[in-house]
Every structure is written in C-alpha cells, then in structure tokens.
C-alpha cells in the first residue's frame, strides 16, 4: 500500500471535522474522494499534505508511519496536492514556475535558464503537453496552468498526487488533456487521489471511490461495485432503500391555484461558459421553485447568470413579461429581481455597519431627497421590516455582526424586499443557520410567495428544498436533468434524478 490512514481524525476545538477515517491508496491507482460541502474532504487533504497535524490516528507511507509538520515536509516525502485555484505566479514563465525556489544554477549564483527550460520541456512532453516553457503562465488556459502545477509536483518527486476538483473550471478539450495526464501518472505507478463531485468523471477515471460525509467515511468500494444511486445516497446521507420519509410533502391543493397565475420570471436557453448550459425555467407569481443539485451542479452560477452578476453568453431573462437586456445587477433590481447570495459574509452583509444601514443599503437613492437620505423614511422601513420579519435585534443601531445567522439572513431578505421586487432568488438561505432559525426563514420565504412574489430557492439539503418548494428543477453539471411537482414526492425521487445518467458535456 502506497499511502494509508488508520483511524485518522481531526478536531478544531470541540468540532470534529474528521473522525476515524481509514483510507488507502495503491501505487498506480486513481482513488476518487467524494462528498458534499463540509464532508471533510479538504480536512483530509490538509492532514495528508501536512497543513494540519492529525488529532487522532496515523498516516502511513509505504507501510511506515509518517508525520509531516509542514507541506514542504510532505512534499519532500512525495505527497503533494494540486489545488483547484492555481497557486502559481501568472506573470512568470512556465519553466520558472516549475522550478521556482529550486532553479538549476551555473557559476554558483546565476540561474541556468537554458537548462531550466530544457528540463521543463522534457517534463511537459512526457505528459503529452505541447506547452512552450518560455511563455508566461497567464497566457495558458486554466486547464494547462493546472497541468503546469502537476508538472511541478511531479518534478519534485511526488508519488502521491492529490487533485482537488481539477476539472471544476475546465472546458471540454482541457478535460481530455487532464484525463491523459492522469493516465500517464497512473502508468508511472504514482497514486492519485482524485477529488471531484462530477459523478460521470469519477466513474470514468477512478479505480475506487470513497465517500465522506460529516467527517466520516461512509462508503468505500471499487468503482464497479458501487452503483450511482448508492453513491449519491451515501453523499447526501440517505439510505437508498428507505421507505418511510419524514420529509415527504402532503399533497397540496394550493399549487393548483398557483398554476393559473401569470409568469413572474421566465428564463430561456441561458448559458454561461461551461457552468450553466441551456437552462430554461419559469416561475409563476406566488410559486416557490426549488433548484436542486449536487455541489458544483451550477445552482449558484444559474442564479448569478440570471441576476446579471455574471454575463451570460446566451439566453433571455424576462421579469413579468419584460425582457432584461442589460445583464447587470442594477438593471435587474430596477426590473424587480432580487437575489440573496449564499455567501452572506463576503457578498451580503457589511459587518461593521448597523442593522439600519445594512437593511436599507440597496434603496438609499429611493429614500433620499436632493441626495440626502431621509432619516425618517429610513427609520420607517427599518422598523417595518424588523416587525414584519420578526428580526431579533437590540435595535436598528445594533451592529449586524452581533446578530445571529438567522437574523442576519432576515436583514438581507428585508434588504431585498425594500427594492419592492417581483421575483426573489435565494441561494441556500439557511446555510449556517441553526434549526430553530431555519424554520423562521422558511416561514418568511413562504410569506413572500403568499404575497404573490415569484420565489426561486436552493438548498444543499434535498429534504429542505423539497419541503419548501412547489416545483423542483434538478440541475446536473450546469444543465437541467429533470423537473417534478413536489406534492407527494419523497427525497428518494429527487435522489433518483440526481443519480441519473448525466447530460453529455459540451
């Protein structure tokens, strides 16, 4: 066994990020590591590469226990990771990046540039990469930049290569290049840990698959012995055989009434790079449409392309029958489209400002006269939403960072409502919120629909999005894989769609 962990665990304070993981990797094997957000994949990688010391268990390399006190130590022993965001120097040449901090020298001090470039060319060509080692890294596509990353760790003598979501940013042709490189690494007898959430890719490349969930190893089998449905069930934490489902929806009559309502948001043929592919959805007034999908299925990207935070390559967006021509958030807001990012901290709140300032941030021009914000109208708005949404705060002047996650989210929902939207899109609105607050946020979302707004919502939990929405669209690798009315459905029905054969890649 090339690499092995026994009972490996890691706790940060009282939180166990990883517990009792016994993972193994043979030479010449591609081992897929899968799991949703927070499953512990990153933690496992960080333990293997010496970023963190484990709190329990041990790591064995060639059967001998090892402990790496830094990534450099791990690298020296032959364990290296290649990350999805390229950690190289874009302005420098390919050769300089491969040999940075260990340049071949001449006359003791000077870099032997010629040798460096020749060596780089040799390594690159071994992996079938037609890259000129003299060109600046940034002139390469992301995929090739990643290959340069791989060339670097291999030239450092890595025998275990950990690839963290290598294809997440790649276009079609680049994916094939990556596959070729992985094949070559395998032929050379290196072990590859392949982290990905693209099922089709893992089934194509990997010899074995291991699934982590909530920091534990819940499945590990050879690829041939692990059907897709069982894999997805393991990732999402449901027994695929279970019959009783507490999350099942009662057959509702309300949806019939909604079926006749006019369409609030219509999206046709929306595409953005390779992340959103030909997505068409329609939401009626008073309807809650759920978007479901595994991590990386394109939920957030779809929202951002609709909202204009990313400029879609193709496709039409209409709000209440009026087309949005300019893909810009400001234009979308004016037409009555509101969007709540899943990333509250970096794309949502202004942590150093008060609840009042946060809540009214999007409408200051509207409540101003001659460019001066009307304190009175601001106070009216703030008090109204604190009351209506039941925001628990010491008062309008309290700092938003002092509020709980659920109440911060309500402030952000209130901020969106201030713009008097016709359609509200909420990306994973209950992420990082405790159970009690979750129910409150759900109630708030249902109230929005009851008032006649069109609502689109996602969640990383299948049960939640199923329970919340009237209709569900399942995304897979950026494209729509299926659609269902949620009345009377159970989570298993959604899992079946998630695990279904995937759309071919463009």
């Amino acid at each position: 066994m090339l690499l092995e962990t026994r009972g490996l665990g890691k706790s940060f304070g009282v939180v166990a990020a990883l517990s009792d993981v016994s993972f193994s990797l043979r030479a010449g094997e591609v081992h897929g590591l899968m799991g949703e957000n927070g499953a512990g994949k990153s933690t496992l990688i960080k333990l293997l590469t010496g970023f963190h010391p484990p709190s329990a268990g041990e790591i064995l390399l060639d059967g001998t226990p090892v402990s790496f006190d830094s990534p450099r130590a791990a690298q020296a022993a032959g364990v290296a990771a290649v990350y999805q965001e390229i950690n190289l120097i874009p302005e420098r040449s390919v050769a300089a990046n491969i040999f940075l901090a260990r340049e071949p020298r001449q006359f003791g001090l000077l870099t032997n540039t010629r040798k460096m470039e020749a060596d780089a060319a040799a390594i690159l060509s071994r992996y079938g990469l037609a890259i000129d080692p003299r060109q600046p890294l940034r002139t390469l596509g992301l995929g090739l930049q990643q290959m340069v990353s791989i060339a670097r760790v291999v030239s450092l003598g890595a025998r275990v290569v950990i690839m963290d979501e290598p294809t997440s940013a790649l276009a079609g042709a680049e994916v094939d290049i990556l596959y070729g490189v992985v094949e070559q690494l395998r032929r050379e007898g290196r072990g590859i840990v392949y982290v990905s959430h693209r099922l089709s890719e893992c089934y194509r490349l990997c010899d074995r698959l291991t699934v982590l969930r909530d920091g534990r190893m819940v499945e590990s089998a050879t690829t041939a012995d692990l059907p897709r449905a069982r894999l997805v069930a393991a990732m999402l934490g449901r027994e695929s055989t279970a019959g009783s489902a507490p999350g099942a929806r009662p057959a509702a009559a309300a949806t019939d009434a909604a079926a006749a309502a006019p369409i609030a948001l219509s999206v046709r043929g929306l595409s953005w790079r390779t992340r959103v592919r030909d997505v068409s959805i329609a939401v009626r007034r008073g309807e809650i449409l759920g978007l479901a999908g595994l991590l990386g299925a394109g939920r957030t990207e779809t929202f951002k392309a609709i909202y204009g935070a990313e400029t879609p390559d193709r496709g039409d967006v209409e709000i209440e029958g009026r087309r949005l021509f300019h893909a810009r958030p400001a234009a979308s807001i004016r037409r009555g489209l509101a969007f709540l990012s899943e990333d509250r901290r970096s794309e949502g709140i202004f942590p150093k400002l008060s609840v009042r300032a946060n809540l009214t941030a999007a409408v200051l021009p509207r409540i101003s006269r001659f460019g001066v914000v009307s304190r009175r109208r601001q106070t009216e708005l703030v008090n109204r939403y604190i009351r209506e949404l039941g925001i628990k705060t010491a008062g309008p002047e309290a700092l938003i960072s002092e509020l709980s996650g659920g109440n911060q989210q309500k402030v952000l929902i209130a901020r969106a409502l201030c713009t008097e939207p016709r359609v509200v899109m909420l990306d994973d609105p209950t992420r990082g919120i405790d159970v009690g607050a979750k129910a409150e946020v759900h109630r708030t979302i249902r109230d929005l629909a009851r008032k006649g707004l069109g609502v689109v919502v996602t969640s990383s939990e299948v049960e939640e999005v199923l329970e919340l929405s009237d209709r569900l669209v399942v995304l897979n690798e950026g494209a729509i894989a299926g659609e269902l009315e949620t009345a009377g459905r159970e989570p298993e029905d959604v899992l079946a769609l998630l695990a279904a054969a995937e759309a071919p890649r463009a």
Binding site: Q75, I89, E91, R92, A101, E103, T139, A173
Partner: protein, 328 residues
C-alpha cells in the same frame, strides 16, 4: 470558446497579442525616450550635444541608483518611501566620514542604508505592517537625523580622491555614467538571472503562492529592502562627492520621483512585473523633461513638475489600458 474548428490558431493569436502587450509594457518607455530625444533634438539644436546628454545622465545618476532599489521593492509588491531621506542622510554621513579617507566616506552611507533597509524590511516582513507606514516613519526619522547631524549643510573640506569618484572621467566618460550603467546591468542580472530575482517576482506576483512553492518570503523581503536602502546610501555618498558637501535636504522627493520613474518604465505598482531597462528609461525621461524645460528659457522650473506629472498620468493610463487588453 468555439467548436473544434480551430482552437490552436486562436490560442496562438492570444499568445502573440500577450507578447506584444508585454513588450510595450516593458520596452515602451525606451521607445518614448528615443522619440522624445529626437523631437527635443530637432527643436533645440543644443539638446543632442554630448555635453548636454552627459548632463542629463549624470544628473540622473543619483535618482537612477535610488530607482533601482525602488524598482526591486515595487516588483516585490511593496514600496520604499525612506530612500529620499536616506540620500540626504547619506551625504551627511559621507561628509562626516571623509576626513578618515574615501573608503569610509563611500562605505559608511551604504552600510547605514542597509541597516535602515534591514529595520524596515524586518518590520514589514515579520510584523506584516504596511510598507507605506513603516517607510514613511523612516522617511521622517532619517530626515530628522540628517538635520540633527549637519544642520542645513556641511562642507567637505578636502574632497581629494573622494571628490574624484563623482567628478572625474574614465575613458572619456563621466564616472557617474559608468557607475549608473554598471549598477543597472548588475540590477538586471540579479533580477532576471538569479533565484533571488525570481523570488522577488514570485512574491510580488502572488505572495501566498510563493510561500507555498517554497520561497523564503520573509528573508527575500528583508534582503530587498536592504538592497534599496544600500543603493540610497550609495547615491548619497556619490552626491556628497559630487557637491563636496553633506546636505540634509539632498534627495528630497526622490522617494516619489523614483516611484514615478519606475511606473513610467512599466513597473506595475501592484507588483510582480517590471524591468530594469524600463526603470532606467523612466529616470532618463524625467531628466529629459527637466532639461527640455530648462532649454525653453522662458518657462519657470515649476513647469518641470507639471510636465512630469502629466507624463506619469499618461503612463498610468496606458498601463491600465494594456492590462485590460491582457486580461481579455
């Protein structure tokens, strides 16, 4: 991204465009310098006379040495505001040391500069304080030290060989020009052909990545500030030799002029990109502007600043345009 019709030529084109943009960025200042010299030469007959050209270059030597260090620091991703005051302090130290011979008069200012760079660099690298604040503090402190030591100025009594260093000629070329050219050649060698230079580029390009790739970021940072301080000290020593005096206000404004020269020469203020030749062209362009305005006898020296500022702004606008082309 289009279909399989022909991705290769598209990519090739992109690379070519990137290369051209890169060339304009790194070599554009030289082109502008040559053009400006031709234009100035055709308008002012005296401009291209050997004596006038020598004037421009020798006058540019002091700023030029400072700009080498500044360019290193900017490529590293920081900047050094202490260099101007260090030049002034350097002249004063040289004037004090001269009675003990030309060796201490030349070396002590350099050592003092390295010491200042060491302190600046350690504070910036270890405590992660902002380069702006640390070197601004050094600027104020060194200025004060120079005035405390020398008042406004002090005369070097018998310059002797020390004076020769900055005033004599070697093979018909002013020593200062020889020193300037040698310093830039050495600077280019260090920057482009040594692991130290590669590390400077790497840190300025992406500090976290550089650390991950195994570069000793703190050490490289400290060393780079030492290079900058040492060169400012050298500049001060040569200025003292040239003027036969230590002047506490010498080098005033060099900190910003050297940044301006580097930026005009295509060094990106965000770090990670730049060349020595570009910086030198920037220094000479600033010198040329001053010289031309002097040639137009009717204009006051105040116009030198106005012209330099306009030039800098143009350079920055072109840079911004180029970076945008590069990204798209």
């Amino acid at each position: 991204m289009s279909a399989a019709a022909g991705p290769a030529p598209v990519k090739r084109q992109a690379i070519d465009r990137a290369r051209i943009v890169g060339l304009i960025q790194s070599r554009g200042a030289i082109l502008v310098l040559i053009l400006a010299a031709i234009v100035a030469g055709s308008i002012f007959p005296d401009f291209l006379h050997a004596a006038n050209v020598e004037d421009i270059v020798t006058a540019g030597t002091f700023l030029g040495l400072v700009a080498i260090g500044q360019t290193f620091v900017i490529i590293l991703g920081g900047f050094d505001l202490s260099v101007g005051s260090m030049v002034g302090l350097g002249t004063v130290i040289a004037a004090y040391a001269q009675p003990f011979g030309w060796v201490p008069a030349l070396l002590l200012p350099i050592l003092a500069g390295i010491l200042v760079g060491l302190i600046d660099g350690l504070l910036i690298a270890r405590t992660r304080m902002a380069p702006f604040i640390v070197t601004l503090a050094a600027l104020l402190a060194l200025k004060g030290a120079a005035i405390a030591l020398a008042g406004e100025s002090m005369v070097v009594a018998r310059p002797g060989f020390f004076g020769q260093i900055a005033n004599a000629h070697w093979l018909g070329v002013s020593n200062l020009i020889v020193i300037l050219v040698a310093a830039y050649a050495l600077g280019a060698l260090v920057l482009n052909r040594t692991p130290f230079g590669a590390a400077i580029f790497a840190i300025g390009g992406n500090e976290e990545a550089a650390r991950m790739l195994g570069i000793q970021v703190e050490r490289v940072k400290v060393l780079t500030y030492c290079v900058s301080g040492g060169l400012a000290g050298l500049s001060g020593a040569l200025l003292a030799a040239r003027l036969s005096s230590g002047i506490s206000s010498a080098g005033n404004g060099y900190e910003l002029q050297s940044i301006a020269a580097a930026v005009i020469g295509g060094v990106l203020l965000t770090g990670g990109v730049g060349t020595m030749t570009g910086a030198l062209a920037g220094v000479l362009l600033l010198g040329l502007i001053n010289n031309v305005i002097n040639q137009i006898g009717s204009l006051s020296a105040a116009y030198q600043g106005l012209a330099s500022g306009t030039f800098l702004l143009l350079a920055v606008i072109i840079q911004a345009g180029l970076s945008r082309t590069k990204r798209s």
